[in-house]
């Protein structure tokens, strides 16, 4: 058994933490806690980026870590909390699949994700390539969360968590994307959340609730 260097071990723990957080989000029904979990996920992501930056000496990763910290740990959670208070949505209703069922589905997804990540892991030359499987799991678990939730707010957190997974994948497989692209993606995420904020108020003004079952009338057989 070879000893891994400390920074490698730390990075691996970050990856493991991300996966754990994904499962925690999957089972969480309190929306405020969900947003907090999202903020923690962002913080772990920023820490992993920082470690990687220090390890590889890539300057753009420092910037990327700062961006993650500012956007995903501070600004977006603040905005979401504000929205929650203004809209008074604190709890999601019973999900479409019960918690234990969701967890089991999540486990299957993780196995599948690692199988999917195999060829990428083989190709990538980065020290962190083993984490690609975790990144794919985070993406797919977020997807599962979006499918099983009813409240618009939980779906949005799922969407943002999916973006975290994609971002972590980019980092572990190729030490991030070119800076222009990363900035562009960050801008898009920011605008997306702002648009959603406006959008939520429109939904609420119309239905006086953020429950998505109101939004199911456009069916084929009317």
């Amino acid at each position: 058994m070879t000893h891994l260097p400390l920074d490698q071990q730390l990075l691996d723990s970050c990856a493991a933490l991300l996966l754990l957080l994904s499962f925690a989000m999957l089972s969480q029904r309190r929306i405020v806690t969900l947003v907090n979990l999202y903020a923690v996920q962002g913080a772990v992501l920023a820490a992993a980026t920082l470690l990687l930056a220090w390890r590889t000496g890539e300057d753009h990763l420092y910037l990327s870590a700062a961006l993650t910290l500012a956007l995903k740990v501070a600004f977006l959670p603040w905005l979401l909390h504000r929205l929650i208070r203004r809209l008074e949505v604190y709890w999601d209703t019973e999900p479409l699949l019960n918690v234990s069922g969701t967890m089991l589905a999540g486990l299957v997804i993780v196995v599948f994700a690692f199988a999917l990540a195999q060829p990428i892991t083989r190709l990538a030359s980065t020290a962190t390539r083993s984490a690609v499987g975790i990144a794919v799991s985070v993406v797919l678990l977020a997807f599962l969360m979006m499918i099983t939730r009813r409240k618009a707010m939980s779906q949005v957190v799922g969407f943002l968590s999916m973006e975290n997974g994609v971002f972590f994948g980019a980092m572990s497989a190729s030490y991030g994307m070119p800076m222009v692209v990363e900035l562009g993606v960050a801008l898009d995420v920011l605008v997306a959340v702002l648009v959603l904020g406006v959008f939520f108020f429109q939904i609420r003004e119309r239905f006086e609730s953020l429950d998505l079952h109101h939004l199911e009338s456009l069916k084929e057989h009317e």
Binding site: T126, A170, V181, D188, S217
Partner: protein, 485 residues
């Protein structure tokens, strides 16, 4: 220079209209900015015709015959739609469906949407293309919900979430592409996402990872093309948003998304030495054609009807790109052009018709021709054109696609023919009573904008009868670029 103008004019337009968008003359300002963009697109096209493929701005922008024709088309339809939206939005304002504030939002976002699409088309960077595609969704979400009706909110939400998830898959695909390219082009280079560089080394890229990347890219951008089974946002967004937005979504956004799919396919096909991408495109294309033509029968809303028809036609183009080869690719490009022109002209007339009848329900729209012969005939001719009746251009492209399919993929030909026949019967049986018979419609204070409708139909007719040699040359060069010799 032309490129700079092309991209800066819509941004400037968005800023200016963000301030004065509620002014009485704002629709004219909107049209003027679109006209400027179109002129810039013409200048750019002339430049490409004279000098061939150009790389600009530190290789970040790249114009070849394939995308320049889409740039010209996008700018042209953007301009005619701005002309159409002048009387249309005034009537909506008079009917109290809109407030001046929302009109400002509409005008500003319209320009921003044009910008994101032109950026997606002209950029050489696969990452920036992703950013622009996501920007196109974001700029139109609030336009789909412009009327704030329950239906429009639902449509907007569906549009946002489905395209958001889709586009996240595409981002993952883009990352995989970057990882695979990093191996060959150097991991930290800015060049590893530039399409021209990827294209140059595509034979050396790792096949398994590229196959995986293509699945993600196709899922992502395919959602925006409206490929079945990822299409469910499309009819809702088309039916619930204002009609000018339906016209640009159908006529332009779907094309730009298909452009992204085809660009990815060129790379992956080059790396794979197998038929996987081609087969996936053909499969999804055929599925979309068949399902959409069956669903056409069930539609009761005029805009939903033509939204499903868009899914069908995007399916045909996707199928043709999947077949590959010079003729099929040529036909697919022609099909993208004529579909975009015809479909937007149909949405123009459908919009006017719905306003005159006071409803989008097909049953409420009757006898357009008695009160307004031009709108009636516009709708009839547009429908005939989109159904592939000769001598319109859609006939030419569908004919080419079918004959190629007979030779290359004989199994698919009867399926395609049957689907086209079903679509023909479905649309014609629904459009015919809307145009002829007893009338239910009334006159409106603002005369309809008919110039865009008939200009589009005239071009489609022209393309059906006679394709000018330089245009044919242009399509051939583009087909050569993406479909092999």
């Amino acid at each position: 220079m032309a490129l700079l103008l092309l991209l800066l004019l819509p941004v400037a337009g968005a800023a200016v209209l963000g301030v004065i968008g509620a002014h009485r003359r704002a629709p004219e300002v909107n049209a003027l900015f679109s006209l400027g963009t179109f002129l810039a697109a013409c200048a750019l096209t002339a430049q490409v015709i004279r000098h061939g493929t150009v790389l600009l701005g530190d290789e970040q922008f790249f114009i070849d015959p394939f995308n320049v024709f889409l740039v010209a088309l996008t700018a042209f339809v953007g301009m005619t739609t701005a002309l159409f939206s002048r009387p249309y939005m005034r009537v909506e304002l008079d009917h109290g469906r809109l407030s001046p504030g929302r009109l400002r939002l509409y005008h500003s976002m319209y320009q921003l949407f044009m910008f994101t699409m032109l950026l997606a088309l002209t950029t050489n960077n696969m990452g920036l293309m992703w950013v622009a595609m996501e920007g196109a969704t974001l700029s139109t979400v609030l336009l789909v919900t412009l009327y704030r009706t329950p239906g429009s909110l639902e449509a907007g939400w569906k549009y946002f979430i489905l395209c958001g998830v889709g586009i996240a898959q595409a981002l993952f695909g883009t990352i995989l592409l970057y990882v695979a390219a990093g191996k060959v082009l150097g991991a930290q280079g800015m060049t590893a996402l530039l399409w021209t560089h990827l294209d140059a080394v595509k034979a050396q890229l790792e096949p398994t990872v590229l196959a995986l990347a293509f699945v993600f890219l196709l899922m992502g951008y395919g959602t925006k093309v409206g490929l079945v089974p990822l299409h469910s946002w499309l009819p809702d967004a088309h039916a619930e948003g204002p009609t000018p937005i339906s016209a640009v979504l159908s006529g332009l956004l779907l094309n730009v998304a298909l452009y992204a799919v085809v660009r990815s396919k060129v790379l992956v096909q080059g790396a794979l030495h197998s038929q996987l991408p081609a087969q996936m495109l053909m499969g999804f294309g055929l599925l979309s054609v068949v399902l959409a033509s069956l669903l056409l029968w069930r539609q009761r809303d005029i805009k939903r009807l033509f939204a499903y028809s868009s899914i069908e036609h995007m399916g045909i183009a996707t199928f043709a790109f999947g077949m590959g080869g010079a003729i099929a690719t040529f036909a697919a490009l022609l099909h993208m052009t004529v579909h975009s022109l015809t479909k937007s002209s149909i949405f123009f007339t459908a919009g006017h018709a719905a306003q005159k009848a006071g409803s989008q329900a097909i049953e409420q729209i009757r006898g357009l021709i008695t009160l307004s012969p031009t709108v009636g005939w516009g709708l009839m001719l547009g429908s005939l054109a989109i159904l592939g009746v000769p001598p319109f251009g859609v006939f030419t492209s569908e004919f080419l696609i079918l004959t190629t399919a007979m030779r290359e993929q004989p199994w698919a030909t009867p399926i395609l023919l049957a689907a086209l026949a079903v679509a023909f019967a479905a649309i014609l049986s629904k459009v015919q009573p809307m145009v002829f018979g007893e009338t239910t419609v009334r006159r409106l204070p603002h005369p309809p904008a008919l110039l865009p409708v008939f200009a589009h139909l005239a071009i489609v007719l022209l393309l059906g009868v006679y394709i000018p040699p330089y245009l044919a040359e242009w399509y051939r060069a583009a087909a050569h670029l993406i479909g092999g010799p």
